[in-house]
Symmetry: D2
Subunit: 349 residues, 4 copies
């Protein structure tokens, strides 16, 4: 269960923790930005009604939520309605379907600025790009690092965008957060629990990618690791699963959208670029994602994908991306939402 505490009662956490532990619970206090809550698992609140009443009776207890799922804070039952993650004013999880776009990897200032200008004009609001890359081979490009982060920040600022970029090394979270509006946890690190705990201490929104064969419950428990650190601005991202099929790089699990929405209040983002590995499939799957109810898309775009350092085959060209947007917007409207297209870009600072 989750015990929501009122503000202004310094001893509340200690007292409620003691009572819970005496009744056999394991207790985890979570100091969030807005609220302090106490998560308690392992006891049997459904049998011991008296104890539950005792907890509720405390002046400092605002609410008690009984949640039978293994994840608590991210469970649908915890909040009324759906969560909206505010990325510096861009709202993910509301009526707008948000487009995140940009290159797989930051290669140069020109590459990022050209892409940012084009995608922002076409409707994208968050700029993606990797400055630290999880490469399967130690001999592959590992990313530009800080210079890459700076390029992303500058391009985003120039074109009125926000920045999402991956952090892999827990020692660099603070550094990356200086430049990024969203910290991405990659699929390979979805169960790197020390990284999750540290990101939970940050106050920057997180885009958590599903591992390539992670179950829904495992994804939600990974989100819970972050949430228990106090950071509850989490977006769940489906990016394709590993299967037996070799024609596509991964198999996009579009069912993740309604499933995750049924289990959690967190917004769901779809990555159709990683999800298929082929740029010619991205438009079709982007339409599917919006129709299924995704809250945002994250798409790889490159000015010259055939010369990209990484993931060229799955990067859309700029014209492909621009062409796709009006139809996406129509699909969004068909399902009762909206999507920005062709917005006037305020070039400048």
């Amino acid at each position: 269960m989750i015990i929501v505490l009122r503000q202004g009662h310094p001893v509340a956490v200690a007292q409620v923790t003691q009572e819970l532990e005496e009744h056999g619970y394991q207790v985890l206090p979570v100091f969030g930005v807005e609220k302090t809550i106490v998560c308690a698992v392992g006891g049997d609140e459904f049998k011991n009604v008296d104890f539950l009443e005792q907890i509720k009776a405390h002046e400092f207890v605002e609410d008690v939520l009984l949640i039978t799922k293994p994840y608590k804070i991210v469970a649908k039952e915890t909040v009324a309605g759906r969560s909206v993650v505010d990325v510096g004013g861009v709202k993910v999880g509301g009526d707008e379907v948000v487009m995140m776009a940009g290159p797989c990897t930051v290669e140069s200032e020109e590459q990022v600025f050209v892409t940012a200008e084009a995608v922002s004009k076409a409707g994208a609001k968050i700029l993606r790009g990797g400055a630290y890359k999880p490469s399967t081979s130690p001999y592959s490009f590992q990313g530009m690092g800080v210079p890459g982060l700076k390029i992303l920040r500058q391009a985003a600022d120039k074109y009125g965008m926000k920045v999402v970029t991956e952090v892999m090394d827990l020692r660099k979270i603070e550094l990356v957060a200086q430049y990024a509006d969203v910290l991405q946890i990659g699929a390979r690190n979805m169960q790197n629990y020390d990284l999750l705990k540290e990101v939970g201490q940050a106050r920057t929104p997180v885009l958590l990618k599903r591992g390539m064969t992670a179950k829904y419950e495992e994804l939600l428990l990974a989100a819970e690791y972050i949430a228990t650190g106090g950071n509850q601005a989490i977006m769940l991202c489906e990016r394709g699963l590993r299967t037996f099929e070799s024609h596509t790089r991964n198999m996009l699990d579009i069912g993740a959208v309604p499933v995750l929405h049924s289990l959690s209040h967190l917004p769901v983002v779809i990555d159709p670029s990683q999800g298929t590995g082929k740029r010619d499939l991205v438009a079709s799957l982007s339409r599917a994602a919006v129709a299924a109810g995704a809250d945002a898309l994250i798409i790889e775009v490159h000015p010259n994908p055939d010369h990209a350092i990484k993931d060229g085959p799955q990067s859309m060209t700029i014209p492909q991306f621009v062409d796709m947007m009006p139809t996406l917007s129509k699909v969004a409207e068909a399902v009762g939402r909206w999507m920005a297209t062709g917005r006037a870009v305020s070039v400048g600072e």
Copy 2:
């Protein structure tokens, strides 16, 4: 390669076969409804240009198609544009996105008629329902057989619909075809090659379901087995894949729509009921399928799913189905197609 022959040349097949075999080809003549073609594999037409010219020079040769894929007749290169499968006037593969709906299993006259009336009024044009069921257990219901086929036929006729139903036993193809407009080959039988060959001899359209871990190429080669029998009215159906995830029964591979469209001219049908196993996910995935470009949907609907003999959890209720249709129609329009909804049903004869 495929050699398309002109009508009215009785010796053409024999002669071209002989020439091809002399040049190292394996040869398979295909006597289709409209045309006779000869499929030849194993030779090297790209190197031997003279021989190719010799073949083309025959008066009885209308065209020669060079196709490097392992499947030939069903390959995209074989026809200009996309194939439309005509199911007694209902066109699958054209601008309309066709809805097929009905119960998993035929249980009774009332069940089927109630369902057929409701789904046809809501826009469905083809009635689905199983009279022969591939049950994992020999102790489970194996289907009503012929009485079930009769119920399907009568209900479809009454509500102006066509019938799709599964055939499992190759000795029953002729029997099933007496009642059905479309012969369904189930996922478990996708590589039952003798069944495929026999269905290829029939002249009834076929709905070929992808095996639960079949590769795209294997699905297309299974279709090629049917096509080489002369039956080229084939619809490919994605119905969800088996994975590690146990929350859903299967994982719907929505990417199958653009992938199969890029490889083959055949229409692509999506089964979101089998594809997820949970009725509450079907509407979201149906929208995704239409947005991705599916040519038809096949959906399980039951008047009382909690009492269904089979697959109750994945069968939509009638109100769920009816509610879903208008939004599906809007999504179809958003992607440049259309879908029947609420059409006047001619209750007749």
Copy 3:
């Protein structure tokens, strides 16, 4: 539950069926070679003790077995100890670990005779070889058919072996059974239920291959389909699973040996050739299979694998096979069993 009937009571089946149906059971009588049994599912024998006593009290009832698993006849609980399948005197499931070997596909008399001589001298007792081949492509070799069956029979007879070969088409079961000692059901047909039912009517032992992503329970239910036809001489065969890994053709699930032994009394056969797709891995996995407790191995051997029509890469050369046998025999002894090696071959009649 299973009701075992005594011989010589013609009305027993009818009477017990009626009583069971009156109590809500679905009933399936099974007329085996040795015994007649009645399988009943769907009732609640654990609650209705009086009814159980009533059934047991019949003079014609020899025994009543309560089995809670979805499969009954093939469940471990049904027989004391393990089943031994007698293949014309070769016992599979006893202390001996039986070797089945031969080419993937019958190509010629010479190929089969050379292989049969070599593998039988090295200890193999059952000759494998395909006369009807389940080819993914309709343009690939489909097998020699009856002439291939004849070659297998003659070679086996000459070298004192038995024959195992695949049957795909249910109309050919009788034909194949004229030449074969074991009918193989291939992985692609594991859920071809009409084929299973027909093979259940035969009185030839069956080698049932696990589908490429079949669950253990599905494999056992497929075996149950055969057993309910009255044919209980069934061997279960693990032949590798389809996974994400492309380095090997399939991934051999060696755990299938102890798992299937814990669930069923049927013998378990391992196919390390299909199980990996690479001949250099076969010896290592054969040793693993014997050590894990497999009752038999089935291995592809070809006199000249690089020129094999099918599956050359996974076919062992004759010297590889011969070299492997002595170590296999030692491993068998290490786990308390034995394996024939280098037995004198009676070249005769």
Copy 4:
């Protein structure tokens, strides 16, 4: 390619690096304990023979190895024969098949000491046990931490064993290495590249577990990450894959033994406990692993598994473990190796 440098040439690395970069190579110098090597990828040494000769001609170049695989240092071609990892005198990769055993998680001094005494008497030489646990849920036990490490060290010392234990947090490598003889990288962290790089800087042997759906090549590239840090004492560990089957927790890929041996010179360890998730299957799969050629086993044993904090169902009881060892030893001998059983334990200090 790999350029092996002679000792005593301080400028060698800089000079060869410059030449390689001028010819289009990416260069990674590796300062190992025994040797300094330079790994170079991306150029085309097979075409430019002159350049290769130029490199070889340097006085400070001892050898040049051309390796076409994406991994270099861990590739089979890099060393003659197989690598032996020396764990404080226990040799993994030689004729002896080494047994590592102990509890999943360190729970108490008594639990570890009782287990260590029993498994060491039965032949185990390396004590396993988790002090930092990668728990799927943030509410589950995360391990005892340093007190757990101390218990492992003391128990191992008392019973003449070495210690293998997991490190998850790269900031704790030095700490864990103070107590452990082998650093385990868990399956979830196989592609946590920053952790791999840091472990590569350590000089403690590493047990690298394969991710739950990692390809062989990815595992070997993960090992290469460690090796390029200079730490080449790496053992590869197969611990079961995630599949569609729910009867077992994972599916042990026994084929990993011959496959990894064919690709790399590193020793291969099998974890049949994680590999199946059921203690009753562990003995059978241990025998299979030894027969297949595994260099070591790592097995979970608990004095009272039904009360274990974690992974009780897959932990063997002490009697099960003791009973298994003599047969394992026989299997080892059958394949030309040996395994310690019942060795006299020097209980000391």
